[in-house]
Symmetry: C2
Subunit: 154 residues, 2 copies
DNA sequence: TATTGTTATACTCTATAACTATA
DNA sequence: TATAGTTATAGAGTATAACAATA
C-alpha cells in the first residue's frame, strides 16, 4: 500500500521543469523586454530618464509643435497620464508647452535649447545601447528579422 | 523678415515622424509583448486568470511539492508578492500549500483536483492562443527563430 | 456636442524593510 | 547566522470619470 515515499511532500531538490512555461510566447517576450529595459534603466540612471520619457523627447524633436494628445497617442499613453510626464520634462527645462494659435485649448510641445542639447547627448548613449543589442542579436540582419517577427504580433 | 509662418506654433496636421521611436528595440519588444498580453487577458478574462497566475499553475503542475520560493524565483516574482498570488489561487481551491516534512518553514505547492481539472481546460485555451501566434508569425520555424532571437537578449 | 488639458482616483505590478518560525 | 513565508508599505504604470476652456 505504502511504498515508503511521503505522499504529502515529494519535494525533490533538482532543477525545475520549466519547458511548458518557456514555450509561452508572451512569457518569452516579457522576459526579453524586461532584460532590455533593465539595461536601459541602468544606462539612463545617470541622467534620470525613463524609457517613456526618452521616447517622448525623440518624438517631440522629430515633430515639433504637436499637441500633447498626438504625442501621447502614438506612444499608447493615456492623455491623463501624459500630463504628469510632460510636466516633469518641463520642470527640468527640457520641454516647453507653447500656445497653439489654431487651437487655444491645445499645448504645442517643443524642446527647449537645453532639451535639444540634452537629447543630442543621450541619443549617443542610446545608439551605444542599440549597437550592443544588434551585436547580441547577431548583426543588423538579425535585428531586422526580429523587428519583422515582432511586427506580425502587433 | 517674416515669411508668414508662425514661429511659435508650426503644428502641421499630417502623420507624425515615428521612425526614430520604432527603431528602438525596447520599444518594439514592449509593443509586441503588450499586444500578446492583451489577447491573453481577453481570452482568459472568462476564467479570471492573469498571465502570471497561468504560469504559476503550469509550473506547479510540472513541479508538484516545490517551495513557494522556488516557483517564485523561476518566474522572477519577489517572494513577498508571490504570497498574495498564491493565496488567491488557494482561495479559489486551485492550489494547496502543504507542510514540508524536510523543512517546516516551507510550504509545498500542489494543484488540487479542482486545480488540475481547471488547468487541463485552460491549457487547451492557451494552446489555441499559441497556435494563433505561430500562424501570425508564419509557422513553427518562424516561432523558433523568434525564440532564438529573444534568448540572445536575456 | 465634441475635444484638450487637467485633476482626482483606483487598481495592478513591483520593490524593500522588518517580523516569525524555523534551520 | 541564514532562510521561508509573511505583513506592511511605497513607488511606478495604467485605467476611468469628471471638470473648465475652447472648438
Amino acid at each position: 500500500m505504502d511504498d515508503g515515499a511521503n505522499p504529502i511532500a515529494p519535494a525533490e531538490g533538482g532543477p525545475l521543469r520549466i519547458e511548458a512555461t518557456t514555450g509561452i510566447t508572451g512569457y518569452r517576450l516579457r522576459r526579453a523586454q524586461l532584460a532590455v529595459f533593465q539595461r536601459f534603466l541602468a544606462v539612463f540612471d545617470s541622467v534620470t530618464l525613463r524609457p517613456a520619457e526618452y521616447s517622448v523627447l525623440v518624438l517631440i524633436a522629430d515633430n515639433p509643435g504637436r499637441k500633447q494628445t498626438e504625442i501621447a497617442e502614438v506612444l499608447g499613453i493615456k492623455r491623463a497620464n501624459f500630463v504628469t510626464l510632460v510636466h516633469g520634462l518641463e520642470n527640468r527645462d527640457l520641454v516647453e508647452r507653447l500656445p497653439l494659435a489654431s487651437d487655444r485649448r491645445a499645448n504645442a510641445l517643443h524642446l527647449t535649447q537645453t532639451g535639444a542639447a540634452f537629447l543630442a547627448r543621450i541619443r549617443l548613449m542610446h545608439e551605444g545601447m542599440e549597437e550592443d543589442v544588434v551585436r547580441r542579436l547577431g548583426g543588423p540582419d538579425a535585428r531586422d528579422q526580429l523587428f519583422a517577427l515582432l511586427d506580425r504580433l502587433t
